[in-house]
């Protein structure tokens, strides 16, 4: 079935079954590999993208359910002010180790900041506990979110 997906502001035509997870359309059909596969069951958050600004696990999102919604991926999150601040904070605090989960971490964090510009530790726990990091970068992720949020206040 043909679909037209709006990804990072650009329309992309794809021809796949409607129940194909968005993740594999991004990765295998469009070769946008920044969005990662970790569990296939919405348990780890590695595949997090934004759909109309909200965080969604693309591994369990059928492509047919997306419609004309705007999809944002890690490849373009730096275009938003919050996304850019998060990426910067991630590097300033050297959050990243293997980095495989960090696309999803940053997408979840960006969605959090869009909703709660100055999140508390509890807000961070609630928004980020769906994203697993086996390198255990949680402490630095928390600090980087606070840092990015603080930067927004000054801006």
């Amino acid at each position: 079935m043909p679909f037209t997906l709006n990804i990072n502001g650009t329309d992309h035509a794809v021809d796949v079954d409607g129940d194909t997870p968005l993740l594999w359309v991004l990765r295998d059909v469009l070769h946008m590999t920044g969005t990662k596969f970790g569990c296939g069951a919405a348990l780890c958050g590695a595949c997090t993208v934004h759909i109309d600004g909200g965080p969604r696990r693309s591994c369990v999102t059928p492509v047919a359910s997306v419609g004309k919604s705007a999809i944002t991926t890690i490849e373009s999150i730096g275009r938003s002010a919050a996304g850019e601040r998060l990426q910067k904070a991630w590097l300033t605090l050297e959050v990243v180790q293997c980095g495989y989960c960090q696309s999803g971490q940053i997408m979840s964090a960006a969605a959090l900041l869009a909703k709660i510009p100055r999140p508390s530790d509890d807000d961070i726990d609630a928004a980020m506990s769906g994203n697993i990091c086996r390198c255990g970068t949680y402490g630095r992720i928390r600090a980087a979110i606070h840092r990015a949020a603080g930067a927004s206040e000054g801006a």
């Binding site: 796949v16 295998d28 293997c98 255990g136």
Partner: protein
């Protein structure tokens, strides 16, 4: 063999296509995708202008400095550390380098493990000196080339920031301009290295070189490889080790949109498709039947029963002091305990994957592997091609933890690709990653000690029963059944224990395979030894820090971190009811660590670790921030195993699958972790696994302090 320069990030062209492709662009994308290289492979003809004095450095006429990374980057920061070591002596800035993963090759053999493998927290220990000498060699030759050009004494020239300067005249030549003439000079047999006082990079926090492209989706992991014409494969694998395919419904799988082919292997069926969504639907339609074989009878209770039997037998002794039994029998007080640690999976975030293209005269393998030479060897063996016809293209690893040193998934990918007329990318599901892991072995330990009237230990016996993966991987390292890993952290204790016996009884579980799991022998022995040491302190009615202090007189470095951790943690200061502190120490990987855990046990038994204080002496640090990050990482990894990690077997099948049943620590459970580094000029020790061992006993000991309950079995239950 093509020595492809593997970029580790998305080539600009693919990024551009990705950003600009609009409706109708799908075809363009597929057709226009270039090879993954950012630049073409260096042809031999270029060699005359390229300066490459050793396997680790290449400088071209444009002055591009390429560093070839002997060890693989799986999060531990080794690319930056190796680069710092080379750059320090080569006199270049870190922002001047481009990095390439090493191909399989003799120069990249890890001297500690005698194989090209990234494991055992050994990269810095094995390569620090080699990297510095490589950098110094290149610098010496570049300076000599400049001096010859200017007809001046080499002593009047110096190198800095990638330029050779003639100090008195101020003349300068960049490394690029000197590359071709330096390439003609003989490689000096001996070079002088800087003294620590001259270091500009080593020991100072450096920004990691791999991370900028890991926050924007550009970094390429093995799973991200895109090769023109590539298909993807999903598999059904026999759920029982040693079982085979009995039957399946090929027609139903082939009826799925996007499915091209179904491939049968002995123990698996692969569905070849355009994309993973279609391949997985194809696998779901296969309805596979299996001949499960004899392992289908094995479950966890049987594994435990075998270990209990094994624990009754004498083992191979690592240390056996003559009169240990009589001293133990005559001790004023005797303690004994049995400790149990189950199978644990590795669960790296990037599941097993491998991309292979088999052609008549060559084979290409694209992957992130801790052991790229093993991948090359198995591909050559399976295809019948000579080793030099197999090219391994290395990528970042989305976590390894020991799992990606195994090549079972490479084997499977090559076997599939041998039947497919295109490049094929095999990706396992998370469930397969868990169920077909090479697990951390299930271990059962019996430990006993005798105390004198003052509570000092006078005898210590420790028998370990479990799998020996070393015997599987490195049979030549095992003499008379002695497994150096199994007793690492058990026989070589820093404590003054006058009479000891430590022995190992090998018992293989049968239905699963085992391998290195982050922190290996020291990781599992720390739980037993450091928990039991706490038991001894309690029996002697002594404070756990004071008790250890009295026994560590022969290990000043371990004693120092013990004191530092206790001090920083506020050891002895009161905690709220229901909370406790526990401490553990270990010397491992030629480094020293002490950890204090602050733990709260809720009335319902829920264990919450609030704070972990670590004191570390790893000798000379290369990148201190990376050391801190690795300790934090190791703590969380070990804590996951301590609180949740357990793989069980039923009917020969692993019962756990995804992160709902194989639970790991998440953000809301992660403690605050402090890392205090001891400044040291001693030889650098390993840190990649150093944070993992002590957290298990530190938490167990804290639970004892909080509740009086002794934890002798993982995962912990109060």
């Amino acid at each position: 063999m093509m020595s492809d320069t593997n970029p580790l990030s998305l080539p600009e062209r693919r990024a551009f296509l990705m950003a600009s492709a609009s409706v109708g662009g799908g075809l363009l994308l597929t057709m226009a995708l270039p090879v993954l290289s950012r630049q073409p492979a260096p042809a031999p003809a270029l060699a005359a202008t390229t300066f490459s004095p050793n396997a680790f450095i290449r400088i071209d006429a444009q002055g591009t400095v390429s560093l070839i990374m002997a060890m693989v980057e799986m999060g531990q920061g080794i690319y930056t550390a190796l680069s710092m070591l080379i750059a320090e002596e080569l006199e270049i800035d870190l922002d001047q380098v481009r990095l390439e993963p090493a191909p399989p090759g003799k120069a990249f053999i890890n001297s500690i493990i005698h194989e090209q493998i990234t494991a055992d927290s050994s990269s810095i220990r094995a390569f620090a000196q080699i990297m510095r000498e490589a950098g110094a060699t290149a610098r010496t030759m570049l300076v000599a080339a400049a001096a010859a050009k200017w007809r001046v004494d080499v002593a009047s020239c110096k190198a800095e920031h990638g330029v050779v300067v003639h100090t008195s005249s101020g003349r300068k030549l960049g490394y690029g301009a000197l590359a071709s003439s330096a390439a003609l000079l003989p490689v000096p047999a001996k070079v002088s290295l800087k003294s620590p006082g001259e270091f500009k990079l080593i020991g100072k926090p450096a920004k990691r070189l791999d991370t900028p492209d890991k926050v924007n989706g550009k970094a390429l992991y093995g799973i991200d490889v895109v090769v023109p014409g590539m298909k993807v494969a999903a598999v059904a694998i026999c759920p029982v080790l040693g079982g085979t395919v009995a039957g399946y419904d090929e027609a139903k799988a082939r009826a799925i949109n996007g499915v091209h082919q179904v491939v049968k292997l002995d123990n698996a069926i692969a569905v070849i498709a355009d994309h993973t969504g279609a391949a997985k639907k194809g696998v779901a339609a296969l309805d596979p039947r299996w001949n499960v074989g004899p392992n289908g009878n094995i479950d966890s209770a049987e594994v435990l029963r075998q270990l209990q039997e094994a624990l009754k037998k004498p083992g191979v002794s690592a240390r056996n002091d003559a009169d240990v039994d009589s001293v133990l029998a005559g001790a004023a007080q005797r303690l004994e305990a049995t400790y149990e640690q189950p199978f644990v999976a590795h669960a790296p975030m990037e599941p097993m994957n491998c991309t292979v293209h088999v052609r008549k005269d060559r084979c290409d393998v694209w992957l992130g592997s801790q052991a790229p030479a093993r991948a090359q060897a198995v591909a050559a063996k399976l295809t019948g091609l000579p080793l030099e016809a197999v090219t391994v293209h290395g990528y970042y690893l989305g976590g390894g933890f020991g799992r990606k040193s195994e090549i079972d998934y490479v084997t499977q990918a090559v076997q599939i690709a041998m039947q497919v007329d295109a490049p094929v990318k095999l990706i396992w599901t998370r469930e397969q990653d868990t169920r077909h892991d090479y697990l951390r072995p299930y271990y059962l330990d019996h430990i006993a000690a005798g105390l004198d009237a003052q509570g000092h230990p006078v005898a210590w016996t420790h028998r370990i029963a479990g799998s020996s993966f070393m015997a599987r991987i490195y049979p030549t390292m095992i003499t008379n059944g002695f497994d150096p890993d199994a007793i690492d952290g058990a026989a070589n204790l820093a404590y003054a224990l006058p009479k000891m016996r430590v022995e190992f009884v090998r018992q293989e579980p049968g239905a699963v395979l085992t391998t290195w799991w982050r922190s290996i022998g020291p990781g599992r022995n720390a739980f037993v030894v450091e928990s039991f040491m706490d038991e001894l302190a309690a029996a002697a009615k002594r404070d756990p820090v004071e008790y250890r202090t009295a026994l560590l007189g022969n290990s000043p470095r371990l004693l120092a971190v013990l004191k530092l951790a206790a001090d920083k943690a506020g050891w002895g200061k009161p905690l709220p009811a229901g909370q406790g502190r526990g401490i553990a120490v270990q010397a491992a990987f030629e480094s020293f660590i002490a950890q204090v855990a602050e733990v709260e046990v809720a009335p319902d038994g829920t264990i919450k670790v609030h704070r972990v204080v670590c004191a570390v002496d790893c000798g000379l640090t290369i990148n201190p921030d990376t050391v801190e990050a690795q300790i934090q990482s190791g703590v969380i990894y070990g804590l996951s195993a301590a609180l949740y990690g357990s793989i069980s077997l039923k009917d020969g099948r692993v019962e756990q699958g995804n992160f709902d049943t194989f639970r790991v620590v998440r953000m809301d459970e992660a403690p605050a972790i402090e890392v205090h580094l001891v400044k040291s000029a001693e030889a650098s020790g390993g840190v990649g696994e150093l944070g993992t061992p002590c957290i298990m006993p530190a938490v167990a000991n804290a639970i004892f302090a909080a509740t009086g309950k002794r934890i002798r079995k993982l995962p912990m239950r109060v």
